[in-house]
């Protein structure tokens, strides 16, 4: 077998593995369950909660991650190596462990003080957002930093020489040039936040109509052996995720044509 054919077969095998798993869901799908799920208050709440929490977590990751990734990509500063190394922390530690760490943090005096004087995180909406934010932050910064590393510095330097302040050069030159990487990192982070389970369940629990996100709802249905309900929720989660990815691709394609 030629090398070319071997590599193409490997690529098709990737599609086969995921495709087979997704196709297997069809065995338990029925229209009535799907319709019932889409009109169920509890399911609709989970969808809404998941969308809002993932969007808020991604927004926070963007707000902190964009300048952080820029600093890591462009500047040499004390502690840079430590920051760069810690980015993989959420990947190395399992989501459940990450959730446990957050929970432990809120049981120590500093965490208790924060909860008492600011907002409640444990078993609350803020906890879901925090768990998802912490899970996706490192990944977001790593992706964006890699994308920024690909943008030659000479463009921002030219902008500065032409009269742009550092922030203007960043906003008008570096940021537009890293647009694809930014959208990619944002969508990936949003999708990861949407599907986040381990850390969220540790911090926020499984309270229906309060902290039950879609992945937690899937877990709850499966734990009572409701296979049809589980499949229905998986399909909803899958549909939302795929829609986000297609929208992102569409946006990138439209911008490229412009």
């Amino acid at each position: 077998m030629s090398f070319r054919r071997l590599t193409i077969l490997s690529a098709l095998a990737v599609l086969g593995i995921y495709g087979l798993l997704i196709a297997s869901l069809a065995y338990y799908v029925n229209a009535a369950d799907l319709q019932a799920a889409l009109t169920s208050t509890r399911v609709l709440f989970s969808i809404q909660l998941s969308l809002v929490a993932a969007t808020a977590a991604t927004g926070l990751a963007l707000a902190l991650g964009v300048p952080a990734a820029y600093a890591l990509s462009r500047f040499r500063f004390r502690g840079r190596q430590a920051v760069d190394s810690i980015l993989e922390f959420p990947i190395i530690v399992s989501p459940a462990a990450l959730g446990a760490i957050i929970l432990i943090f809120f049981s120590n005096p500093l965490g208790q003080w924060i909860q008492a004087h600011t907002i409640t995180f444990v078993f609350a909406f803020a906890g879901i957002v925090l768990a998802q934010f912490i899970t996706v932050l490192g990944v977001f910064v790593r992706f964006l930093k890699t994308a920024l590393d690909q943008v030659p510095r000479r463009y921002a330097t030219s902008a500065r020489i032409l009269g742009a302040s550092p922030s203007r050069a960043f906003l008008t030159v570096d940021l537009p040039l890293v647009r694809r990487g930014l959208i990619g990192a944002g969508v990936l982070s949003w999708a990861k936040a949407l599907g986040e389970f381990g850390a969220t369940i540790m911090v926020a629990g499984t309270m229906a109509m309060r902290t039950e996100t879609l992945p937690i709802a899937i877990y709850s249905r499966l734990s009572v052996a409701d296979i049809e309900g589980t499949v229905t929720l998986i399909l909803i989660l899958l549909a939302i995720g795929l829609t986000a990815l297609f929208v992102a691709r569409f946006l990138l394609r439209e911008r490229d044509r412009a």
Binding site: T157, S158, R160, I161, A164, S165, V173, R179
Partner: protein, 370 residues
């Protein structure tokens, strides 16, 4: 316009050491030097892309030493084209004026004039990635001048262009300078480009200014051995000053087998009798002599033979071996002159070294300002 005073900067193992440079208002100054001499580093110091260890930089009387890059108001044409790929040509050109808070009414007439002069009017709506190398460089030039900077820095901007296009740009820059009245500091390692563009030149070698002066003076009269070698003078020999008079020095040159005369350069330090120095003579200034072409008075004559001849484009480079000396001389002649003298490899010939063309060169590094 631009003054560098005692500028020092360290970058890894490389050091810019106590550099002074003065570019007058409206002047075209070219910074020449071999690769690694520190030319780009010096330009980066002027732009504010590097920090000075010590020294001072003033621009139009204003101390800009610690000023941020964007406030210096310098135009810059870099070696690597850096047009913003996400903006159209028109947006690229307007970027600088808009950053400097100029209204379109202010900058548009200047831009229109530059666009007209550079012939890029048909490119305004296009993206940089659809332009040829020459077109991109024209747009970069217009972008750099759109804010009417008092000083334009050029960092070997035409290196990637072919010969005819480069010459086209040299002419274009001269035209633009005449119409837009800006001071220019250009760095290049290309001697033809440097001397074409310059009013005055500075030769920088190993992070030190070796010689500054009018381009004719530097070209005709390099002051030190490193400058002479950099300027392509291949005939250099060790010598000792034997006698001095008002206009000439008589030097002993064992390499050329005798004692010859070299003209002193007015305004430069006169070497002392007994001083060790180097002699240099351009290959194109070594004269071939015969009965029809007699030597000038006080010219040093060498009898010998041609041991090699190589065609190097428009010229032929002959290797001349004197009969009574170990060293060889390179002689550069035109094809026509070669035919006239009927010189061929192995044949005897007479070479003449006119005192006016024999250069007295300081062997040690020294800063010579004329």
């Amino acid at each position: 316009m631009l003054e560098l005073e005692h500028v020092c900067s360290q970058s890894g193992a490389f050091r810019i050491d106590d550099v002074g440079l003065s570019v007058a208002d409206g002047e075209s100054h070219v910074l020449l030097g071999p690769s690694g001499a520190g030319k780009t580093t010096l330009l980066e110091l002027v732009l504010g892309l590097r920090e000075l260890e010590s020294g001072r930089i003033t621009l139009a009387g204003r101390d800009v030493t610690g000023e941020p890059i964007e406030r210096r108001g310098i135009g810059y044409l870099p070696q690597r084209i850096s047009l913003f790929p996400h903006l159209s040509v028109q947006e690229n050109i307007a970027y600088g004026p808009l950053c400097r808070r100029q209204s379109p009414a202010e900058f548009q007439p200047v831009v229109d004039e530059l666009v007209e002069a550079t012939g890029i009017g048909h490119l305004l709506g296009r993206r940089p990635d659809t332009l040829s190398g020459g077109e991109r460089q024209r747009v970069t030039l217009v972008r750099a001048l759109a804010t009417r900077p008092p000083l334009l820095l050029l960092d070997e901007p035409f290196t990637a262009l072919n010969e005819s296009l480069r010459r086209e740009f040299w002419r274009l820059l001269k035209t633009l300078r005449a119409g837009h009245d800006f001071t220019m500091l250009m760095i290049t390692h290309d001697l033809a480009e440097g001397f074409f563009m310059a009013d005055r030149v500075t030769v920088l070698i190993d992070g030190r200014v070796e010689q500054v002066g009018d381009k004719e003076d530097v070209w005709r009269r390099p002051a030190t051995l490193p400058v002479a070698k950099y300027l392509g003078i291949r005939n250099t020999f060790d010598a000792t000053v034997a006698e001095l008079d008002a206009a000439e020095a008589v030097v002993d040159c064992p390499g050329l087998g005798g004692r010859l005369r070299a003209a002193l350069v007015p305004g430069r330090d006169v070497p002392e009798v007994g001083a060790a120095l180097s002699l240099g003579i351009r290959a194109e200034f070594v004269a071939l002599r015969d009965a029809a072409h007699p030597p000038t008075p006080r010219e040093y004559l060498l009898e010998g033979r041609i041991v090699d001849a190589a065609v190097a484009g428009a010229e032929v480079v002959l290797l001349f071996q004197p009969n009574d000396a170990e060293a060889t001389l390179e002689i550069s002649v035109s094809h026509r002159l070669l035919r006239r003298f009927g010189v061929a490899v192995g044949q005897p010939a007479t070479a003449g070294l006119p005192p006016d063309d024999v250069l007295l060169l300081q062997t040690e590094a020294a800063s010579v300002v004329a």
